[in-house]
């Protein structure tokens, strides 16, 4: 009976102890410093490199920490954070992203580190002005057959409308002929 009570007490206490230990660890987390490096200007459609650098308070790189790159976005009445990428930091504490600017606007880029057992969460922002008017979507034909292009369509249509035009010319000739011929009301027309 006594053993049973001890087990029961352990079952209740163990999770509490664990919770205390992790809580303590969190409380004891060191501050992390996150910096985001992005070009201030970019051309529409250009691929730019955005680098987030994560260091501890002493400036030592934090290695293998996941960093998320995101941007705020709005669509109709809904808004939220659009995740652009998630990369683990390298030996220099850098997380490098390739970002393609697809909208002509001032883009706000954010990098977030959500923290772990050793380091607290950190966030950084950068702003990038995107300019340009390039057509970004370029469709490509699955199979390119020589000679089959929009010009074939133009040629066909041109042939049809050219015939219409020729018929119109014939009509003017009919009218001109009618003007020359004497009027014959009541005559044969067929």
């Amino acid at each position: 009976m006594r053993m049973h009570n001890v087990r029961r007490a352990l079952l209740v206490l163990l999770p509490l102890l664990l919770l205390l230990a992790t809580g303590r660890a969190a409380l004891a987390a060191d501050p992390a410093d996150l910096q985001l490096q992005a070009p201030q200007e970019a051309t529409l459609g250009e691929q730019v490199t955005v680098t987030a650098v994560l260091r501890d308070a002493s400036g030592t790189p934090i290695v293998g920490a996941p960093v998320i790159l995101w941007s705020p976005a709005q669509f109709l009445s809904t808004g939220g954070a659009v995740q652009l990428g998630k990369v683990a930091t390298n030996a220099r504490g850098e997380a490098t992203f390739r970002y393609e600017a697809r909208t002509e606007e001032s883009v706000v880029l954010n990098a977030s580190f959500s923290g772990d057992s050793r380091y607290s969460a950190a966030q950084a922002s950068a702003q990038m002005a995107v300019q340009g008017s390039a057509q970004l979507y370029q469709s490509s034909a699955g199979v390119r057959v020589p000679g089959v292009s929009v010009w074939l369509l133009v040629g066909l249509l041109g042939g049809v409308w050219g015939t219409y035009l020729a018929v119109m010319v014939l009509l003017t000739l009919i009218a001109r002929e009618g003007a020359k011929a004497p009027s014959r009301a009541g005559g044969q027309h067929g």
């Binding site: 469709s139 929009v150 369509l153 249509l157 049809v160 409308w161 015939t163 219409y164 020729a166 018929v167 119109m168 014939l170 009509l171 000739l173 009919i174 009218a175 001109r176 002929e177 009618g178 003007a179 011929a181 004497p182 009027s183 014959r184 009301a185 009541g186 005559g187 044969q188 027309h189 067929g190």
Partner: protein
């Protein structure tokens, strides 16, 4: 010449030109009724314009409805005219002469009404110019705009060319029987036609060019209309034969439309002597032939896709054949193809009335066919969501009624402006027969008509005694 003046040609002119100078009470009532329906449709459209497409039954899942169904339906009917008329001219079918003009009327009117439908389908009609301003060559929508505008232009030219000698007859024969503006119209529209040998030759060349050109143009139009569907990633529209299927369906419904319009005009304008039961029976044969072609396409399409049953085909087959759209599908299959085919097949039912009934069934059936292609096709879910429903609202019903009323109205107005039968072609044919069977011909022509003709005072110009020649 005296024989001609008092003979079949004069009788023909009296009967055919009669409606251009006389307007009965029935005609006014009909036109008044049609105008009212069109005005009601305009009111319905103004509601849609004010409140947006929310007043229709179209939503994000089934995004096409009556407007696109009517678009396909009317473009289909438009094949009646030009294509059938051109084919009959090319093969020199002798019985065609009283039929072709009406067929060509139908084409122009149906194309104009059908072409309006996609514009009504747009919630923002002010964006129509964007199709041209920002259109992409790769888009079937742009092909559609190009092909329909090309076909409409060609059809107007093709309708107008054989009208020229008849307009000259109107100009010379009707005189003070018609108001001044009509006289002016006939004078201008007949482009100084005097029937000289050179004019006939020029007209023959123009007609020959157009009749050969208009056939591929007409075929391309309905093929492109089918591509609006077939080039969209939807399971029921994944078909390589859609183009041919649509062209066959268009001619099929077009013949039915000619038969019905011809029956109405024949009765209204007392053209029984010129448009005989034989014409209806001949068109009935064409209808019967196309019934078989349509059956073949349907069997080919459904057996092949049904055998593989890939993707969402089973969903589509179930909704089409045994569940939600089964009444439409079987009404189209049995009522729109099998039954008309049987009516034409048996000599006992292959009568004037039988052909009219078959044509009516075909038109209803083909409307159903377009309904199941558009609505049932779009109902197949693209993603795992519940299948939607399309329930047309009063706005769509009103606009559909308005579209049919507009079709009837324009034909009614047209029949008061132009001879509904090609006088010179029929006369030419009769004169050819007259040479061979003079006594029989005299009996076959009607001795009716109260139209007063102006006397023939001047002799015909040199070379004016014959039609435009062998090309027609």
């Amino acid at each position: 010449m005296d024989k001609v003046k008092n003979g079949p040609r004069e009788q023909l002119e009296r009967v055919v030109l009669g409606p251009l100078v006389r307007t009965g009470k029935g005609y006014r009532l009909l036109v008044g009724g049609l105008v009212l329906v069109v005005l009601w449709a305009l009111f319905a459209y103004s509601t849609q314009l004010r409140d947006g497409l929310i007043v229709t039954g179209m939503r994000d899942r089934i995004l096409w409805g009556f407007y696109i169904i009517l678009f396909v339906f009317f473009i289909g009917i438009s094949h009646a005219g030009t294509l059938i008329s051109a084919i009959l001219r090319v093969v020199k079918a002798q019985w065609r002469t009283p039929v072709t003009r009406m067929a060509e009327f139908i084409t122009v009117v149906a194309l104009s009404v059908g072409g309006l439908m996609p514009m009504l389908d747009l919630g923002r009609p002010d964006r129509i110019p964007n199709l041209v301003l920002f259109g992409r060559w790769q888009s079937p929508i742009l092909w559609d705009v190009l092909s329909i505008s090309t076909y409409l232009t060609g059809s107007i030219i093709y309708l107008y060319l054989p009208l020229i000698p008849d307009l000259a007859i109107c100009r010379d024969r009707l005189g003070n029987e018609v108001p001044g503006w009509k006289r002016w119209f006939f004078r201008v529209a007949s482009v100084g036609w005097q029937g000289t040998a050179r004019q006939k030759k020029l007209l023959s060349i123009a007609l020959a060019s157009m009749m050969v050109l208009i056939i591929p143009v007409a075929v391309s139009v309905h093929t492109v209309v089918s591509w609006i569907f077939a080039m969209t990633l939807r399971e029921p529209w994944n078909s390589t034969v859609f183009g041919a299927y649509f062209v066959a369906g268009a001619i099929f419904s077009g013949i039915a439309a000619i038969i019905l319009v011809m029956a109405v005009l024949r009765r209204a304008f007392h053209l029984e002597a010129y448009i005989t039961h034989k014409h209806f029976i001949n068109l009935g044969y064409m209808l019967g032939g196309f019934t078989l072609i349509m059956m073949y396409f349907n069997v080919s399409e459904y057996v092949v896709t049904g055998y593989k049953m890939a993707g969402e085909t089973s969903f589509h087959f179930v909704q089409l054949m045994v569940r939600e759209y089964a009444p439409f599908f079987w009404l189209y299959t049995i009522g729109g193809m099998v039954l008309p085919g049987l009516i034409i097949l048996f000599p006992k039912t292959r009568t004037f009335t039988g052909v009219l009934v078959a044509a009516g069934l075909v038109l209803v059936g083909m409307w159903m066919e377009r309904f199941i292609i558009v609505v049932a096709g779009l109902r197949v879910p693209l993603m795992p969501y519940d299948p939607s429903w399309y329930v047309p609202t009063w706005v769509e019903w009103s606009i559909m009624a308005g579209a049919f009323a507009m079709f009837g109205l324009v034909i009614a107005v047209f029949s008061k402006l132009f001879p509904v039968i090609s006088i010179w072609e029929v006369a030419e044919q009769y004169e050819e027969h007259e040479v061979k069977e003079a006594p029989a011909l005299g009996r076959s022509l009607p001795a009716t008509g109260s139209l007063r003709m102006e006397p023939t005072s001047e002799p015909p110009a040199e070379g004016a005694d014959h039609g435009p020649g062998g090309t027609r």
